[in-house]
């Protein structure tokens, strides 16, 4: 038998789904844990402990549902959707998650004021200030490497909304990361 690390994702998925091969699934976890944990750290505003709990929950759910994976989408898209749903369930316990365009959003240039306002914010902190919907879209397209179409499918929102979220998120990030300079 070839080593697990030499197998493709598809071979591992089939082995785990059809034969209940736990080693094959562990190899899938090993390959994708970084992406799933990175996505969840973004969604949880950098709470690594909560993100890892949710990542474990997401992988356990993936194990139970693996026989429903139909190879119609990329495995990462499917995994992202499960991770996102896990985060959404957790989030709903305390907050309402709005993903549509009707979400009340702060203005893109609403940078924090005060003595340190002119200093460049750390990207992590800047990401944490984004509305949930925009952060989810950024996490999908940058952390999970999904296309806009795949992100729309995974998030269950229209393609145009994903593009809008990405555009607005970048505007906000630029406003927070790049210090504004006075023009003469």
């Amino acid at each position: 038998m070839p080593p697990r690390s030499a197998s493709t994702d598809a071979e591992l998925i089939l082995a785990a789904a059809q034969g209940g091969d736990r080693e094959a699934f562990a190899e899938l976890v090993r390959r994708h844990q970084s992406m799933v944990r990175s996505v969840l750290r973004r969604l949880t505003n950098g709470d690594a402990a909560l993100a890892d709990d949710l990542a474990q929950e997401a992988f356990l759910l993936a194990w139970r549902r693996l026989d429903t994976f139909r190879f119609e989408a990329r495995f990462t898209t499917w995994l992202y959707r499960i991770a996102f749903n896990a985060w959404q369930s957790e989030r709903r316990k305390t907050h309402e998650v709005l993903l549509g365009e009707d979400e009340a959003m702060p203005e893109p240039d609403a940078a924090p004021s005060g003595p340190g306002a002119e200093e460049r914010m750390d990207l992590e902190r800047a990401l944490a200030t984004l509305p949930d919907a925009e952060r989810a879209a950024i996490a999908a397209c940058y952390a999970a490497d999904l296309s806009h179409v795949e992100a729309a499918e995974a998030l269950g929102i229209p393609l145009g909304t994903v593009k809008t979220h990405i555009l607005r998120a970048k505007e906000r990030l630029r406003a927070r990361l790049v210090p504004k300079k006075e023009t003469p």
Binding site: R22, A26, Q33, A55, L60, W63, L123, Y142, A143, K170
Partner: protein, 108 residues
């Protein structure tokens, strides 16, 4: 130009920050240890279809009024006379039915 460079800078910072590899640090081991034992339901489709096909063969052989040739062939087979016309006919009929059943079962 400043706008373009700011855009490129943001893209590269996002990619660098969000695609940064997170070390496993025992995460996979913890997930693997927490995996529940698979309780996958037994797929009865093949055994059921195959059993139904066999039952159909038996019914067709013993119940359907196809004349005395089949019974005569079975008697010949029982008496270890496999090369009589009746025995060959009985074998062919049962083989055809069994093959049909196998094809249906495999397709299901």
């Amino acid at each position: 130009m400043n706008t373009d460079s700011a855009r490129d800078d943001l893209e590269s910072r996002l990619l660098a920050q969000l695609r940064r590899e997170i070390h496993d640090d025992g995460f996979t081991t913890r997930v693997a240890a927490a995996l529940p034992r698979a309780t996958r339901p037994v797929d009865w489709t093949f055994p059921l279809v195959a059993a139904a096909a066999l039952a159909g063969c038996a019914i067709a052989t013993f119940v359907v009024p196809v004349g005395p040739a089949i019974l005569e062939g079975l008697r010949d087979l029982a008496a270890a006379r496999a090369f009589t016309p009746a025995a060959i006919g009985a074998l062919a009929a049962m083989g055809a039915l069994a093959a049909t059943g196998a094809v249906v079962a495999a397709d299901s």
